[in-house]
Symmetry: C2
């Protein structure tokens, strides 16, 4: 029987050249986050189906790869729906597993707990260019820190990492769930429509303020509420700096009693402090249009925007209520995820040169070599490896010139030939 | 709803202390194998169910976590067996995926192709101490090298890596599938019983030669064949060195025409050369009793034995026929897998100290700190991080003494306190 050569639909094999870039990025990321005191952890790729379908994952819950029950647990005859067949699934993000992990090991972990996770997640999205059904996520989270020290450290750590990977002139867009909410309340949108309001607002990037306004009216919201809401964005658009925008918005919302007193000052302090302590070339942007899909966010939310890419390249925010879903007791939490695959895509397209690559040497062994001569060549290879070189030992081909050309293409810069003489 | 805190049955959360050791081992392994010219690759964790159930995986095929078909493909009403419900599964090893990968990308890869894979695999084994249903494998393979240069490089690379991880006085047990076969043929066992003969032989470690003999007789094999077979082991046991054992066996098997002329000289040359070029403190042991479970092996087979552990701690061998299952054209291949989880287990039990760990400093920030003072502390943290230290910035607790004690326990060796003054 001939077997299937292709990877499963929507997943990909990673070739050595990409793997080198991925490994380089992983090492820069791990080193930088370690400097910030983040501790790496790992959870199984498989989670209980109950945890994956607890409404924390938004639309991702529709995209789960589900795992069949095993042995006696699988009762095919009695199964009336999919749910009867499965007891686990592949994780669709690293946040649900982190919160489960923290709940499980709380007593063994420090407070605050600064976690780094790098691992694959799976989503059965429609396959498209550059988007795969298995992809790596790279998350840092701080659990147990209620103040904006968490946000400041997360943004500083993430941007320092991106800077060390060679990225510059990028932007961190920042917003607050409670400001989003206050703007809707202030305008007179009904409370229960908040999620729908956000869904339309989220389209601002693509359809502009006029398009957003049109959609609100088409969806039957009161003209007065829509006008007031749009007015807030127009008011902010008329201001140039993030601080002027925030000042203007604060006056409006506070006057109307729509937002708690500390929310906007807290966001202001986060932005100001990040600007003071940052170690990379990026801009902080207060962006009242970013929403972040997941419903679990409760405070600050943020996204990375790269000039190389129109879309978000990572993001995160505060989710103070999620640990409580496991333990019954809320613990403050905040996280930032780098869009690892997008970073790799950009670096691949830029033909990124990995700094400090080791010298690659190829030893070509003629077929006539005696056992003793082969051993001598291998001993020499061992010495050069000890000296920090990468040494490939291969049999010499009949077409030696072609073989050397191929090895040059793979980055081998010097050759040594061994003959029986 | 309260969610499930525990990981799924048989899989484990990895705590930061273990993760540090894992990361250290991974970096030593990757660096050493890179010096030997191995290139890292990655395949998806999910494989087509057809590839996973193609009889290459032996008993592991019974332990597959199977993934439910999605959307319209899942026809629950029409399903009469498990096979109708699934189209993928979690890989149970890295060899089947490697061979698929090689078949898929042959034209983009050099010959010979030296691959390194580090990745998780899943087997629904009965959970037991130190044995998990998700675990990391670490494989190197050389595809396209027919001579024992492959075996020599694989064994040298693997043992050099183990040496750098601090292991010594371990053993590499080596054997040959064709010698195993020849010994059975020489003794007069029927050809079709070869796999059953191997299953009994594999118990030698536990039940000894007498036990093996007893089982053969109980299973109804002819007393003459059993006597002749046992005689071969007794003959070898009477010799001290690996070379004397091989010489004695060669004489017996060659005389009877039971083995091709080049098989034993080839194994001898492999052992001799490894001993000449080795860069770690280990012993080569010709061990005619090792079998290796997988039926795909066609030539040399080997295992790592650690003095710390009674059992095998990794192994591999030559599997020249497997690529042909995908491409219809056989390509020589040989691989060596380190039992990564067992290595980690040994190091954890030895309270392994990671060399060259960075200095860990904790900054404690009093709650009364102004925004400006907080920024100053964070700028200072940035400077110390640049200087190579790991700096944790946390709010000062009311019980500062207890907090510092906890941080000391986590490896923080110096503290700086920041107050509003």
């Amino acid at each position: 029987m001939t077997l299937i050569k292709k990877p499963v639909t929507g997943m990909k094999d990673i070739l050595p050249a990409e793997m080198e870039i991925r490994n380089y990025c992983i090492s820069v990321i791990k080193q930088t986050y370690a400097e910030f005191g983040f501790q790496e952890i790992e959870t199984p790729c498989v989670e209980s189906i109950e945890n994956l379908t607890s409404k924390s994952g938004g639309d991702n819950e529709k995209l789960i790869f589900k795992i069949l029950k095993r042995g006696e647990k699988l009762k095919l005859d009695e199964a009336s729906s999919e749910a009867d067949l499965v007891d686990g699934g592949l994780r669709y993000d690293l946040t649900v597993p982190l919160v489960r992990y923290y709940s499980n090991h709380e007593n063994e972990l420090p407070t605050p707990f600064k976690a780094l996770q790098m691992g694959n997640v799976w989503r059965a999205d429609r396959p498209q260019k550059g988007r795969y059904r298995q992809f790596m996520q790279c998350d840092i989270d701080i659990i147990g820190e209620p103040t904006n020290l968490a946000e400041i450290e997360l943004i500083t750590a993430t941007t320092t990492t991106l800077g060390r990977l060679g990225f510059k002139e990028f932007e961190i867009h920042i917003n607050e769930r409670r400001i989003l909410k206050a703007m809707a309340v202030y305008s007179g949108f009904p409370d229960e429509k908040f999620d729908d309001v956000c869904i339309i607002l989220d389209k601002m990037d693509k359809i502009g303020l006029d398009g957003v306004k049109k959609e609100f009216l088409e969806d039957g919201y009161s003209a007065e509420a829509v006008e007031k809401y749009v007015g807030l964005f127009e008011g902010m658009n008329a201001k140039t700096s993030w601080s002027e925008k925030l000042d203007w918005l604060e006056q409006k919302l506070t006057e109307a009693g729509a937002v708690a007193d500390d929310v906007i000052p807290n966001l202001r302090s986060t932005i100001e402090t990040v600007i003071k302590v940052k170690q990379a070339d990026f801009k902080m942007v207060f962006d009242p249009t970013i929403v972040r899909g997941m419903s679990y966010y409760t405070g600050t939310i943020f996204e990375i925007r790269m000039p190389e890419l129109g879309i978000s390249c990572g993001g995160g925010g505060r989710y103070d209520g999620m640990v409580g879903k496991f333990t019954g007791r809320d613990v403050p939490a905040c996280g930032f995820s780098i869009g690892f695959e997008r970073i790799i895509l950009i670096l691949m397209e830029q033909h990124f040169e990995i700094p400090g690559k080791r010298e690659k040497v190829a030893f070509l062994l003629d077929k006539g070599l005696s056992e003793e001569q082969t051993a001598q060549a291998l001993i020499k290879a061992g010495e050069e490896r000890k000296a920090g070189k990468s040494v490939l030992v291969v049999r010499m081909n009949k077409n030696k010139k072609f073989q050397k050309q191929q090895l040059s293409d793979q980055g081998y810069t010097s050759f040594e030939e061994f003959y029986n003489n």
